[in-house]
Symmetry: none
Subunit: 415 residues, 2 copies
């Protein structure tokens, strides 16, 4: 089965946004073993969209559309496809009800064009939209499959994963089984060097490393008609990899490093609090983005000035005057104080220079991370590089990795 993606939206052709939807869907289809041979982007123009549909129909079995399901005049994807297929648009009562209830609940005024969002192509399966108003659609006509998805990624992604993927998985015969291993604290080249012989002799499963946002992932993909055999193949190769670089392996699939730490804290019934200077709330934000964060997270102090460091967080002015705010000593005081103020098992602190300018005459990228429990307090120095955003993210992730290592008794803690 060959698929092709058509994104509809003049904002893409004007370069206002990148077609990240195509990346997401392609990745999902690759995991299902469905070949994608083309992506097309076309503007909010009925004639050009019609022509793109005709070209796609001539070369692909499945066409997946994103965008153009909204309420405004230039949203015309389903109108155009319904015309091409010779099918009417009909009201999807469930979608209409959910639109009506949204406006009732929020008290906002419903304009007539919102009603248009509840229309679907006659004969199609409606894909419910839990994060927006326009439902998606899946329709099969003359051995071709058409899938229509909304453009906003926060609506499209869950709809695709929850509603489209299960339907597509059923259509596949010799499926691929994938597993993604996630590593932190080791570079792509170093990881590849460690696994060189395994990578050179790979066939089934395949081993594909990929560097992304200061992390490295390895995608293992096994092909077998029997799922349990495929899973055994994946287990075997993962074991070999773990023996060599297991300390850096923090999770699987889409799991983030903060999610791993969240699960570990929960499992060990530990709690955490942060004292943040250069990360400025980022470490707290990453944890509280996880549902149920309150089970392990109590609170933080973002101490962006020395005044707040001493008066609110209680760092002794002597520490600040003698060593400066960007110092191992200050990191220790911050970690210790937040741990005792919030009465948590662990206190984690971040202080450093995010840039673009030096601070206290210390180089951009100089960072100290402190970790305190009821008995001990540690501090670790780092020198990061790159933009302000990158230094902040790298700092936060490194802090999370320290907590992971602390809880799992890995180096520099325990073993």
């Amino acid at each position: 089965m060959n698929a092709e993606l058509i994104a509809v939206g003049s904002e893409l052709l004007l370069g206002q946004i990148a077609n990240t939807n195509a990346q997401f869907i392609s990745e999902q289809l690759a995991q299902l073993g469905i070949n994608v041979f083309y992506h097309t982007v076309v503007g909010d123009n009925q004639e050009r969209l019609s022509s793109a549909i005709k070209i796609a129909e001539s070369r692909s079995d499945m066409i997946i559309f994103t965008g153009g399901l909204g309420p405004t005049k230039d949203d015309l994807t389903k109108e155009t496809i319904s015309r091409e297929l010779g099918r009417k648009l009909v009201v999807d009562q469930e979608a209409l009800n959910s639109i009506l209830s949204y406006f009732k609940k929020t008290g906002r005024v419903m304009t007539e064009n919102n009603r248009k969002q509840a229309l679907i192509i006659e004969g199609s399966d409606s894909l419910p939209n839990r994060h927006g108003m326009a439902p998606g659609m899946l329709i099969e006509i003359k051995n071709k499959t058409y899938i229509l998805l909304p453009g906003p990624p926060n609506e499209m992604k869950p709809m695709f994963v929850n509603s489209a993927v299960p339907l597509l998985a059923k259509m596949q015969t010799n499926p691929l089984h994938s597993r993604v291993l996630r590593f932190f604290g080791i570079g792509e080249s170093a990881l590849e060097t460690e696994l060189m012989d395994l990578i050179d002799t790979q066939s089934n499963p395949t081993i594909a490393p990929l560097a992304k946002e200061s992390e490295v992932t390895i995608r293992l993909t096994a092909k077998h008609e029997k799922k349990d055999v495929a899973i055994q193949l994946l287990d075997d190769i993962e074991e070999k990899i773990s023996l060599r670089v297991g300390d850096y392996l923090y999770g699987y699939g889409e799991q983030s490093l903060p999610e791993t730490v969240f699960c570990l804290l929960k499992k060990h019934q530990k709690t955490i609090a942060f004292a943040e200077s250069l990360t400025g709330g980022l470490a707290s934000q990453l944890l509280t983005d996880i549902p149920g964060a309150s089970e392990v997270f109590k609170g933080s102090i973002v101490s962006y000035t020395n005044e707040v460091k001493s008066e609110v967080l209680g760092v002794p002015t002597q520490t600040l005057e003698t060593y400066g705010a960007v110092s191992a000593e200050c990191a220790k005081d911050m970690a210790k104080n937040i741990q005792s103020k919030c009465k948590t098992t662990i206190g984690l602190s971040f202080t450093g220079v995010a840039g673009p300018d030096k601070s206290e005459n210390k180089e951009v990228g100089t960072v100290f991370i402190g970790l305190a429990d009821a008995q001990n307090v540690y501090s670790f120095p780092y020198q990061f590089s790159g933009t302000r955003s990158r230094i902040r993210l790298q700092s936060a992730k490194t802090g999370y990795d320290l907590v992971r290592r602390y809880l799992r008794q890995l180096s520099p803690f325990g073993k």
Copy 2:
């Protein structure tokens, strides 16, 4: 002149990377007034690339290729185009010299396939590559323009800006001038309804609304050979729009709401601190991501539990017991206390239910935002919807918008 982009690379079709090159080039072309009607992505496959070229030739005056100029076997963009055009590949001596000198300088061994990178299509202008080995090309044949660019963005972007843009600017007679207006607190449909007559009669400038992450932007685009006339056209339409929905207009171009607030705080010499419950550090993180944030931001307390709310932030236990943490009263105490603890002009607080579960028997999406200065304290209730992430982001942005309105004396403050 109508352009079309073709990106060549199986990694795009596998979803390993997004086609950010298309976004970059499209934005550049929009600024030059060159229409882009299609983006296509095709894999490293000669037959499918040939077919994509034929389709593009049938509908566009200019085709811009990215990717497939590298040394490996699956890099076959220029080979395929040279065959389509019936032109030989010839050595670009300057490119070859620079490749030879790179290998000499680094001491790395030059393999035979590196020599392939110095080949260009006969009759084309070579576009030098300052950040990699493969030169780009521009060739005009039978009134069509073909531009070939490397795939890695760090090579492609400077090449396009430095070598291609000047050549393209010369070809253009009637350039476009764009301005993006950014709105918060009004939905896309409501905004369109307010501006319906302007949108219906638009011609020059054009008016294009776009919804994005709980915000709406409007792109105004004027076409005129004289820049000052184009700018006057943009000023005139912006004035008309501002008269109707100016209170919601917070910025221009790529400016974010936190950036707007940062600039306003700086301009009015005010400082701010946050007390965050459901936003869990997000409001602080958004501000500290801006270089120079310390000029206006002093610190925050993330009070995720009632214990931290009372013991660290100093919210009276009576407030928590009588009204609960998710209440107007608690939002007021939080804002007041963080303002006085951090000694700032403004204290801003967030409390509410981010979900997925109810809290204190209050619905997911129930949010209170408090704002305190030295004299007054306000609190505002909201009912948001969507995912946890969306509710948190919507809360943080709404808080920033309140600060903007407070500093600009707009409703619900002042006028």
